[in-house]
């Protein structure tokens, strides 16, 4: 369940954590756009390097690596399939881009508290109900992961062996895990809904908030830089053309 580590929020006091969640959302989206603009492995690697620096600045590098370790199986499959239908060089390029994408999302989710996420969305004129639903969903991901582990333990104690049998049998082995997980989630959702209602959720149209978000100078600075990065990327990629050392390809 280490994949879900990415959702496990911990409050830290770093430059990245102190940025406004809207800024981080903007940063994540612009970096995402940039990693989609380029298909050159050198540029994608540079972006990756930059993302690692940001994660390091947020002191979340080790947590992020744990997430990636959980996804390494997926990455290996991507490499295998791509090298089967294209070249190995292409496969590696693709994986670097995938890592970029994952890091973009991680920067956002590792450094934005679910409550702040809701606030950010509300400030972006997303209706409160939707924002709240999203924030409560992120909040319950670690709970779900923990619950899944307990269910696996319980079924293994009754002699379930997940790794036993052929491919189809192995998929079927997950039925005793998935059904309790779904049933428990639905039960919990209902009880969360009840407790929300008993605390007068949605009783007034215009609600007030305990914490309000405020953009600081550093937020405007980051947004400016991110916008510039996108413009420069588009300019060089589509109008001027990249210098040759950036268009180097893996000769495989």
């Amino acid at each position: 369940m280490s994949v879900l580590q990415a959702f496990n929020f911990r409050r830290k006091n770093t430059v990245v954590h102190r940025l406004d969640p809207r800024t981080k959302l903007y940063l994540a989206i612009t970096l995402l756009i940039v990693s989609f603009i380029f298909s050159e492995v050198v540029v994608l690697s540079l972006i990756f390097l930059f993302l690692l620096l940001v994660l390091a600045a947020a002191r979340s590098l080790s947590q992020w690596f744990r997430t990636i370790r959980g996804l390494s199986f997926l990455l290996i499959i991507v490499v295998l399939f791509n090298s089967m239908f294209a070249t190995l060089g292409y496969a590696i390029t693709f994986v670097v881009r995938l890592l970029d994408i994952m890091a973009c999302f991680s920067i956002f989710f590792l450094t934005v508290h679910p409550d702040d996420l809701a606030q950010a969305l509300i400030h972006l004129h997303v209706p409160f109900d939707f924002a709240f639903t999203l924030s409560i969903a992120t909040r319950y991901v670690p709970t779900l992961a923990q619950e899944a582990q307990t269910i696996i333990d319980a079924q293994m104690s009754r002699g379930l062996e997940l790794q036993k049998g052929n491919m189809i049998k192995r998929i079927r082995n997950y039925i005793p895990i998935l059904i309790p997980l779904i049933v428990c989630s639905i039960r919990r959702a209902l009880s969360v809904a009840e407790s929300l209602e008993s605390r007068a959720f949605g009783s007034t149209k215009r609600r007030t908030y305990l914490h309000a978000l405020k953009m600081a100078k550093k937020d405007h600075f980051v947004i400016l830089l991110a916008t510039l990065a996108v413009i420069v990327s588009i300019y060089y990629k589509f109008l001027v053309g990249l210098p040759s050392w950036l268009t180097w390809q893996i000769p495989l």
């Binding site: 319980a154 293994m156 104690s157 009754r158 002699g159 309790p180 049933v183 428990c184 039960r187």
Partner: protein, 273 residues
């Protein structure tokens, strides 16, 4: 026999749950493991069927080192009933729910049917044989979960918080059931917060706090010791409290009593037969 030697366990990104726990549980013992929330009780018993492996130290079950055998192998020997039944119920009928473990362990069809029938009768669940486990009440679901472990007749039974959500009469039934397993020669390990239940049925109490065992002995020594109780955030059984209050006024009245029966007979004795 279960032997734990100096085991340490830390959850990834989490607290150190066990800090050097050594414990020996002999065959045919009825042990209650008690302690405050987060003391490491569940972490400890998860080592007994191999769900968790000690990071330091060792756990052996009937001479088998848990590092060297799979959970599936150990599960046959050590039946583990989880706290929340909803974490394991998934079948369409109570019958197939109970038969799940037997199928996993490869019992023949006929034997499976016989065993399921027997355990459903034992736990008063016969009438729900073809019902969906999800349609049952909380207490009944808990009994189905219990049945799904008892059916394969493990030598050692671990019960995590079996009394939660059970009404008085079911609790009594459960206690008698545990007692009867023990009489049949099974080793029973109960993780519980329920002092009254432990006082009534367990012979031995292992008290834990902050990942360590802080007391281990007969229930009338452990559950009457105010220092241990305080450290484990437990209250003395009501029978003990009563005996202690009586002894404040009545000189010589015993205080190391834990069950209602013991207090009653002590009073009878004091009143002269």
């Amino acid at each position: 026999m279960i032997t734990a030697e100096e085991i340490w366990f830390t959850y990834p990104d989490g607290p150190t749950a066990l800090r050097g726990v050594s414990l020996r549980i002999r065959d045919r013992e009825l042990v209650a493991i008690m302690g405050e929330n987060g003391a490491g009780k569940t972490t400890l018993v998860k080592h007994f069927n191999g769900l968790l492996r000690p990071q330091e130290g060792s756990v052996t079950v009937d001479g088998l080192n848990t590092l060297q055998v799979s959970v599936a192998e150990l599960a046959r020997k050590v039946g583990y009933v989880f706290q929340n039944a909803d974490h394991q119920l998934f079948s369409e009928t109570v019958y197939s729910e109970v038969a799940f473990a037997l199928n996993n362990f490869g019992y023949p069809e006929k034997e499976t049917r016989r065993r399921v029938q027997q355990v459903l009768r034992l736990l008063d669940l016969e009438k729900y044989r073809n019902s969906s486990p999800f349609s049952l009440s909380g207490g009944e679901r808990k009994r189905v979960a219990l049945a799904s472990t008892l059916c394969f007749d493990p030598e050692i039974i671990v019960l995590d918080e079996p009394t939660i959500g059970q009404d008085g009469s079911q609790k009594k039934k459960l206690g008698e059931l545990i007692h009867s397993f023990n009489l049949e020669g099974k080793t029973v390990i109960v993780v519980t917060h329920d002092v009254e239940f432990a006082a009534e049925y367990a012979q031995r109490i292992v008290a834990m706090a902050r990942g360590r065992i802080i007391a281990d002995g007969p229930s009338k020594k452990v559950l009457t010791n105010p220092k241990i109780l305080e450290e484990c955030a437990l209250l003395a059984p009501q029978a003990t409290q009563l005996a202690q209050r009586i002894s404040e006024r009545v000189k010589g009245f015993p205080t190391e009593l834990v069950s209602v029966e013991e207090v009653a007979s002590a009073i009878r004795e004091f009143l002269g037969g």
